[in-house]
Symmetry: D2
Subunit: 357 residues, 4 copies
Amino acid sequence: MTTMRAAVFQGPGKIILQEKPIPAVGPGDALIRITTTTICGTDVHILKGEYPVQPGLTIGHEPVGIIEKLGSNVTGYREGQRVIAGAICPSFHSYACQDGCASQDGQAHGHGYKPMGGWRFGNTIDGTQAEYVLVPDAQANLAPIPDALTDEQVLMCPDIMSTGFAGAEQANIKIGDIVAVFAQGPIGLCATAGARLRGASKIIVVDGIEERLAIARLMGADATVNFRQVDVVDEILRLTDGRGVDASIEALGTQATFEAALRVLKPGGTLSSLGVYSTDLHIPLGPFAAGLGDHRIVTSLCPGGKERMRRLMNVIETARVDLAPLVTHHYKLDDIEAAYDLFAHQRDGVLKVAITP
Amino acid sequence: MTTMRAAVFQGPGKIILQEKPIPAVGPGDALIRITTTTICGTDVHILKGEYPVQPGLTIGHEPVGIIEKLGSNVTGYREGQRVIAGAICPSFHSYACQDGCASQDGQAHGHGYKPMGGWRFGNTIDGTQAEYVLVPDAQANLAPIPDALTDEQVLMCPDIMSTGFAGAEQANIKIGDIVAVFAQGPIGLCATAGARLRGASKIIVVDGIEERLAIARLMGADATVNFRQVDVVDEILRLTDGRGVDASIEALGTQATFEAALRVLKPGGTLSSLGVYSTDLHIPLGPFAAGLGDHRIVTSLCPGGKERMRRLMNVIETARVDLAPLVTHHYKLDDIEAAYDLFAHQRDGVLKVAITP
Amino acid sequence: MTTMRAAVFQGPGKIILQEKPIPAVGPGDALIRITTTTICGTDVHILKGEYPVQPGLTIGHEPVGIIEKLGSNVTGYREGQRVIAGAICPSFHSYACQDGCASQDGQAHGHGYKPMGGWRFGNTIDGTQAEYVLVPDAQANLAPIPDALTDEQVLMCPDIMSTGFAGAEQANIKIGDIVAVFAQGPIGLCATAGARLRGASKIIVVDGIEERLAIARLMGADATVNFRQVDVVDEILRLTDGRGVDASIEALGTQATFEAALRVLKPGGTLSSLGVYSTDLHIPLGPFAAGLGDHRIVTSLCPGGKERMRRLMNVIETARVDLAPLVTHHYKLDDIEAAYDLFAHQRDGVLKVAITP
Amino acid sequence: MTTMRAAVFQGPGKIILQEKPIPAVGPGDALIRITTTTICGTDVHILKGEYPVQPGLTIGHEPVGIIEKLGSNVTGYREGQRVIAGAICPSFHSYACQDGCASQDGQAHGHGYKPMGGWRFGNTIDGTQAEYVLVPDAQANLAPIPDALTDEQVLMCPDIMSTGFAGAEQANIKIGDIVAVFAQGPIGLCATAGARLRGASKIIVVDGIEERLAIARLMGADATVNFRQVDVVDEILRLTDGRGVDASIEALGTQATFEAALRVLKPGGTLSSLGVYSTDLHIPLGPFAAGLGDHRIVTSLCPGGKERMRRLMNVIETARVDLAPLVTHHYKLDDIEAAYDLFAHQRDGVLKVAITP
């Protein structure tokens, strides 16, 4: 067998399943047979033509699978082993990686900016919504799955969980902090779980869908705010006795959530931003304290690499967090176009869709 | 003698010298006889009515003087001792102070935001452009001047040097970093000196006045960019081989400097902002990498307290930095209205004016 | 009424209950009527004459009570209000406090070293095992108790919980870390709870008493090691597949625990030490990697101040941690000598004793 | 030509120059023709049999040279290009590297401890005192030399400068700190230069050789202490008004220097240890404050990788530091046995010896 099925971006509005050659394996690569993958909000941006990707590219960046073939230079693994790899799949040998910024691999020494940093699967190389995916820099990126964990249990690790947790980690949370998380989609839910893991003593979450707010409570939220029912800023200031929050996490990528995250932030606090914005942002002078509020605004791109994946899987294996409620739907790879239709329109309470070839 | 001369804000456009009672000394206070003080850019904002201050308040926040009288609870000092105190004069017992954010003293538990954090002298209490100033929380704020140092040598410590250095400290500079500093007024010059002290290996400074760029070289700049002659962003990208800078420091408070500081920043870099802005800010999507650039934007308000002042004076005493070139003019307190006129119009190459009663 | 009962250190082996004057309240002080306090292991060191304290001093440093009288300079509180104060009761205005090391208040500018840093209650001033205690620097140290919490729920905050959590906070724990905690007395149990709160994914605890190991599981331990049954170092290396732990926390103060904590530590890991040692320590060359292991050894002294107390009480109020299992016994202040007898001999499974006047 | 001359360890007391095959180049390797190298104190430990190395291994770990041949997978370099590589030559793809501890590459997942972490050249693989050296993981480790710099100017980067600077970086130096550096051999001198670069306002150095103390002043020392003439601890406490130092850096590897570094350290301070110890260490109880001094003891192993080398060369190129005074002697590779004789006996004021094939 030399070909495989793959979900391929054909141009705006069009992702179709087609046959492609199974890729050849170079000395530093590994070929993974996908057993489970999923669709991400970014894939929908690509589908809609809002995010530039070359037509012909296989989409998807969340691989769970089995090593089919190892490159000649990759050691310490065996064919048949179950593995995952992070969505961002850094080389770890670049200047940026060595400088502590692996997610921006390849960015630090070129002219201009690329909006997605070091993200490769389904962005600059063929992705994971296929029967097979080629993992580059495999020695740095293949992360063995503990036997006790199912595919679905680790399906959030490559992107959603790594990103959401990064939002909490970069928020500089201290024990006893009050943290607000804006938007409770999959990444926001993981940010809530991450804030809980870092020791926040009160977590306030914001969304407009009650089902998501209910799941947020399972992830560790103490208080929920439905923006369709109350003024979010007033309500959070009320919940904090007018003090504001120690840290706020933005998990959607809009002016409204960014601005609210700033308006509820105490002087000296951190705004940790995870969203992919599609417009310029506006910082209102007052909440920014005219630049004198000792604020920090930080953005994070999904950390990758086998060590990150190992840690995240450990968190799941020791039952610190259960992300099972995030997988709401299941589809076969053959039906991926239907899965995109459901996911893109956010029908039927969908959070994440498990795709199996 | 029960009265003193003081420069008092009367309303927009009007700061006049008048007689005022010498303040009474409470148990935690100290009365300082001012021997040297100065005018800050913020004072000019007040003068112009751009920054809200109660009419009747004595202006100024950079005290060098002699202890005239100590409150009953203040120990370890003696009357007649030469001291300075920081512009921000924190209590150090508030929640914000104990939480590591002394400059935002009193801010963390109230409703809403005050644009100047914990700044007190010449903002919420009488200031230093007078014959005497009352220092609250004196135990925490009086910093003895080493005998070897003159008034003028320590005149920058209470605000300009503490603020400028904070810009460098918060920029997260590592040995070998390339740092750009936008605007080379007094604070920007101190940020340049601070970046040098933290180990930046290449410091690029930006201003439109050649005299300031020349002084910047004395403070440690390696390359200068005159924004009247070249496109700043293009030039800095050229000077860094297209790589961008590891950290950029904004020291003016305008959209143009803020935006340029972001445009030259590498993914993973830090934008350290010091300026007092007077308009909302705009973050362009591309340079912000759509929120995915692992950027940090931090703002800082002048650190105060006796330990900070002690450290800054040590830096001057051991000749790490010589800020003498910043004091370009001298005035008597009686002539302070003329000093404001010179300083507000930035005539005659003025950087800082030493005022002596 | 001008006198009160107080547990007073008379000399080695002798702590007795006696009458003492109720202290006068200075402008910066507050007089607290104790409603609950407790005995700490350090008190037993004092009782045994192993730790130098002036005879005549009231012992105890964990106050829960009601404001009886406020000094004239203390604002924002009311008499009758329920409060706690940390065991270390820093001024927050000293050089050490402003330099980020409040627990070493008063230490940074004197000759020589004092083994207990800034610890005051029951060490350099009268303590809390009495009907009343005088709190110095009350503005910085009085922490109001949330109405929903009982005395016993907050009784661990002033010392045990603050110290144990500091051990976890200083261990530099990252999400997914494996952490070992050596000794599961009250402080070790709180270190276990703290490690859990910071996101450790596997927590291994060591003690020789099965009851303590059982409580450790309630506090968040994943695996327990009884040093009376197995070789601790071998067992922890086995539990970590030979990898060692990312961080180890020492919570006893002996060569054996310190050395084991080092022997199981991975290269690049942190040994966070909480114990009060009574002998010189010995660092074996091999586990120290001859000084080339990128190790960190950090020691911590109980953080104090009202902000720290506020945070710890929040953690309890939001049910992140339940320290109720630590209070195993109850005594009246009149029976405190019997309480010391029980506690010093560690009879009857005692962990902490609640003392009520 | 298929053979080359190399300085080979034959057993204790015996390093001789012999012919060896020029190594074959694998896909991830690069073959470097050495143009300059040097002898390190660790090499003398090996020579004396104090540090275990396989007989037959080529010694040396400080390469300056020209790319002779690139492996097929190495991109972005060209043959003929001048490069250096760090003494520690990490893969950057291991778990330890991804976890932020590249110097301990390969250590985090094995049983037991290896005293030299990830050090490879002249330790686990053939070293640099030869005509050619094979660089593994070349993509991560080859660092191009700026044209303006001579071989000798960058000769300290691979080890001495990287290690000495790490000692300063890990000492957590803040602007205005007082820092003591114990021993002013090549690494201690670089630690002094590093402390200066990080903003220490007073640097006190200790050695027994006046020539070294004189060079220390060129590197940035403010005060020198000759341990042959005064009691080091008393003198440093005197120089700091009894306060102690904010950070102390140990750069020799003996109980005496380690202990003195602790004895002069303020509560809350950091002891940054660089030395290779050859005996167990002893921590005296008093200076360790019985474990309650909020001290940090950190050890560091020479950081490597092309980004680190790039930064260090930038520091030299912009004249922040001039390490030329450290190269005191020059030898041909043919005379390396004489160079070892001079260096091992520390004759003739030797600091570092440049070796050229």
